[in-house]
């Protein structure tokens, strides 16, 4: 239940919608219990939660669903030379939360499923219905992006 809510909360971006989505997803899961082909019950439920979120977003916030173009994705790739050490331990929760929330939804779901739920690449690939390679590159790009945002956010904070 927590995993379902956490994913829904991150994907929809607010509490009421997340609760509605979780309830809807549970009902769907109940209806499609026949479709459950064994395996990890949690990953299966998360798949339904994820799809319910997408349906919900399509109906209510279709603007957020615009797929990331390669061009935008490229931006996250750049500026990877000369790494400096990153100190995130002291960073405020709010900053990190915002950084994750600002990620495109495909990246966000990969990060949530990997870092919070500890799903393997294979499981994430099943949930998001994409190849494992895509999961790997989405995660990598999402992390670059987070590092950039957080390091710049931190320097702003230090300056301020």
């Amino acid at each position: 239940m927590n995993a379902a809510y956490n994913l829904a909360r991150w994907l929809t971006g607010n509490e009421t919608d997340a609760e509605d989505v979780v309830q809807e997803a549970c009902l769907r899961a109940f209806r499609f219990l026949d479709g459950f082909r064994g395996g990890d019950c949690r990953a299966w439920l998360l798949t339904i939660v994820r799809n319910t979120c997408y349906t919900w977003l399509q109906q209510n916030r279709s603007s957020q669903l615009t797929a990331i173009s390669d061009e935008r994705a490229e931006q996250f790739e750049a500026a990877d030379s000369n790494p400096e050490k990153l100190f995130l331990q002291q960073l405020d929760d709010r900053l990190i939360r915002k950084a994750i929330a600002d990620l495109p939804i495909e990246f966000r779901e990969a990060v949530i499923l990997r870092e919070f739920e500890g799903l393997s690449y294979k499981e994430i690939a099943d949930v998001a219905d994409v190849p494992i390679g895509t999961v790997m590159s989405r995660l990598a790009r999402a992390r670059r992006r987070l590092q950039q945002i957080l390091s710049s956010g931190k320097s702003k904070e230090v300056r301020a």
Binding site: M1, N2, A4, Y5, N6, R9, W10, E15, A18, E19, V22, Q23, C26, L27, F30, R31, D80, N82, P83, E84, K85, L86, F87, L88, Q89, L91, D93, I96, R97, I100, V111, R114, E115, F116, S120, Y121, M136, L139, A140, R143, L146, Q147, L150
Partner: protein
């Protein structure tokens, strides 16, 4: 491994998704390359920063209750369907049972056809003839001895052929009773096996092609030609018996 390769695989390494060989290569590279190991440390600290418990959204207390309530409501509306489904199942099962019972009753009550009765009778006769040492009344391989023997004993004159040149030697003849009348039985031998050929007139004048039946391991071939019934019974194989019939018919 180069820095470029390492960089592209670093996330997989962090997530323990690489195979052993690559993991070992990256481990070795990280020991040697300061830049890449900083990258790796950054990834680790990012993970630590992101996966804090304080960032996890735990489900609010009321949510589980709410979902369970919605589920039970759903179940109540769904449960109407299964009742209907069960009723259909019941009806289908009842129908199937009725069919099975009817089928077995019909099978039990059905009288065997005239042809089956005749075959059964012919087989019994054949078995009896071999059992009680009463194979022949007239023991002769000469068709000109066997044929006259029937005269005066039957109201018809059966045709008697010696087929020894085709491997079916005539042994003799016998009077028998089949199909509610007296019939002529001609006995032929094939190696150690006997063939009883029953001959009697056909009431109607119909010719019907041969019918082949198997009863208790015996093969029975029955056909009508020239106003006569012929019924050959033997334990020899069906193809051999068919050959016997062919030879006989070609005469």
């Amino acid at each position: 491994m180069s820095c470029k390769d390492t960089r592209s695989l670093l996330d997989g390494y962090l997530d323990h998704e690489l195979d052993l060989v690559r993991s070992v290569e990256i481990e070795r590279h990280l020991k040697e390359c300061g830049e890449c190991s900083i990258r790796y440390e950054n990834l680790q600290s990012l993970r630590a920063g992101v996966s804090r418990d304080s960032l996890y959204y735990f489900a609010p207390a009321g949510l589980q209750q709410r979902v369970l309530l919605a589920l039970s409501k759903e179940m109540r509306t769904e449960s109407r369907l299964p009742v209907l489904v069960w009723r259909w199942f019941g009806a289908a099962a009842a129908l199937i049972i009725v069919f099975v019972v009817m089928w077995s009753v019909i099978r039990f009550m059905r009288k065997p056809s005239a042809e089956e009765l005749l075959a059964q009778e012919a087989v019994s006769s054949h078995v009896r003839s071999l059992m009680v040492d009463h194979l022949t009344d007239v023991l002769s391989s000469d068709q000109h001895t066997v044929k006259p023997w029937f005269i005066g004993k039957l109201d018809f004159a059966p045709r008697v052929d010696d087929l020894s040149s085709q491997g079916f030697s005539l042994i003799g003849g016998r009077l028998d009773y089949l199909d509610n009348r007296q019939v002529a039985a001609l006995i032929y031998q094939r190696r150690q096996h006997f063939i009883n050929l029953f001959v009697w007139p056909e009431a109607g004048n119909s010719n019907f092609p041969q019918k082949v039946l198997t009863r208790q391991g015996y093969n029975v071939v029955h056909w009508t030609t020239g106003g006569m019934n012929y019924c050959a019974v033997s334990e020899i194989s069906e193809s051999e018996l068919q050959e016997f019939v062919r030879v006989l018919q070609s005469r």
